[in-house]
């Protein structure tokens, strides 16, 4: 069965280092490349689309701007044939959106999905901070309302909370559960139980990696997930042997049926700098996107488009090949 993402492809013209390049997107996409090679620009483009899609469409005639940046999105089934073109004033501000076909009824449906799109760059320090009970509707982009989100799940969707807690204690068996004490002012703190005898370890004494794990699990077990999720540096702070679990947690979003879930698939765009994580995609090279940077210009390549892919896979691990430079996506050396 073919699983569709929301967005089928993105094409860039003069957007930051992405001068002229396009990219087909899968339900799950792992983007690798050197620092500053366009991984974040891809995610920023999606954020711009989300922001502009909320606004009423402008005058179609006014959209073509000479020399400016342009980003074109093509959507996947069931909205196949719908395209959205962003016009940008500069690298940062896109202020024009044109949809083809004009007045497409499907655009209204696409808009609803785009409005749910979320991007994450987890910040363990922010995640450790106590959060107001009422701030837990959606996990914030830096994860800063983690405690409030978990507390809301515990109150409103206890089944999802229990599944997350069970997965957390499977990944990190030194912990036995989550505690979320709330003070009189409605501020929730996060702690993890380490057995019955001792008190819980509260957030300010938990290691960084624990917060990253919790952030990924919140996304993975979200009972009402966004249609598209972007996550930067998914390997950060996580032991290399645990990266298989991270991959599977994100597969739970993109391929819910494979994990026994019944909800709709979530399109995932994740970035990493870990060769060990890349190793885990040997059987699904179609999910790997490499950003290549030459001088001031960057472009995207899908690993699956390499003519010598079969030989590459025979010769060794993808992570070693990436490091070696054979796959590209490595820093330029002066």
């Amino acid at each position: 069965m073919h699983v569709f993402g929301v967005i089928a492809s993105v094409a860039f013209r003069n957007f930051k280092a992405l001068r002229n390049t396009s990219l087909r997107l899968s339900p799950f996409n792992l983007v690798i490349g050197a620092n500053g090679s366009g991984k974040t620009s891809l995610i920023q483009a999606l954020q711009q689309l989300r922001a502009l899609a909320k606004l009423p469409l402008g005058d179609p005639a006014a959209v073509t701007r000479v020399g400016g940046s342009e980003i074109t999105f093509v959507f996947d089934a069931p909205h196949l044939g719908v395209t959205a073109r962003l016009g940008c004033v500069d690298d940062v501000v896109c202020d024009l959106l044109r949809v083809d076909p004009v007045n497409a009824a499907e655009w209204e449906e696409v808009k609803v999905e785009l409005a749910t799109m979320r991007s994450y760059v987890f910040d363990h320090a922010a995640m450790a901070v106590p959060a107001s009970r009422d701030s837990g509707q959606r996990l914030a982009g830096d994860g800063s309302n983690l405690a409030a989100v978990l507390a809301r799940w515990q109150r409103e969707t206890p089944a999802a909370f229990d599944r997350l807690q069970a997965e957390l204690t499977r990944w990190l068996p030194e912990f036995t559960g989550i505690v979320l004490p709330e003070d009189a002012g409605g501020v929730v703190r996060l702690g993890l139980k380490i057995g019955d005898a001792e008190g819980p370890v509260m957030a300010d004494n938990l290691s960084q990696g624990v917060f990253y794990v919790l952030g990924i699990l919140v996304l993975s077990f979200d009972p009402a997930p966004p249609a598209v999720v972007c996550i930067e540096e998914i390997d950060r702070g996580i032991h290399p042997r645990m990266l298989r679990e991270v991959r599977d947690a994100l597969y739970r979003l993109s391929y819910p049926a494979a994990m026994g879930e019944t909800r709709a698939p979530v399109q995932v765009i994740a970035t990493t700098h870990s060769p060990y994580l890349l190793d885990l995609f040997r059987e699904h090279p179609e999910e790997i996107v490499i950003t290549q940077k030459h001088g001031h210009e960057a472009h995207f390549e899908r690993l699956a488009d390499r003519a010598d892919l079969a030989e590459l896979l025979r010769d060794g691990s993808l992570g070693d090949m990436w490091f070696s430079g054979i796959l590209g996506g490595v820093p330029e050396e002066s």
Partner: protein, 213 residues
Amino acid sequence: MKIAFLSESPADEAVLRILVEGALKEKPTVASAGYRARGWPNVLQVLPAVIRHLHFNTDVDTLVVTGDSDDSPVHTTAHDAPQYYHPHCRMCQLRAVFRQTGKRFPAAHGRLRVRRVVGVAVPALEAWLLCGVEDSVNEAAWTEGQARGILPYTRAELKLRVYRTERPSLPHEIACAVREAERHRRDLRRLEYDFPGFAALLRDLREPIPEIS
């Protein structure tokens, strides 16, 4: 007997533990750390260090290592001849690492060397798991297919048949693998007969631990 495993994943290690227990008819003491390699050829790269570590720093006397053959040439009885070494056969490669690594070590922890137990799953561990369930899956069928240039199945197909999905979660993968390994534990003869790469592992396991004379 104290055993260590070098494998590619917790699922692989779970299977090997069950098969080794089945062969020994008892639960051996297992070294607390499960040693891991990141696929081929990484297993060849870390194996010398693992052997050296076990020899000098632990009282482990048996190291069980397996690899998947993937597309490499399958080990045959011809390779077992003294002094023979097939440069692309993974069984020959793994055995050679044991031979070369332990050669000059002084005896330690009451034994001469860590005993070598090596198996190669053709083309992947999932074939062992399907043995006895799908008659068409066996080492001879794969070797014939390689010779004719038409492989009877792909690794991806084998995985799909065992796990029923292209993307199993780790707990699901372990549960499926353990279920099939438990089926073999009761009677290893079919696996031994259909997969010479497993029979070789059993033969190694029956060899005595190299004692100090």
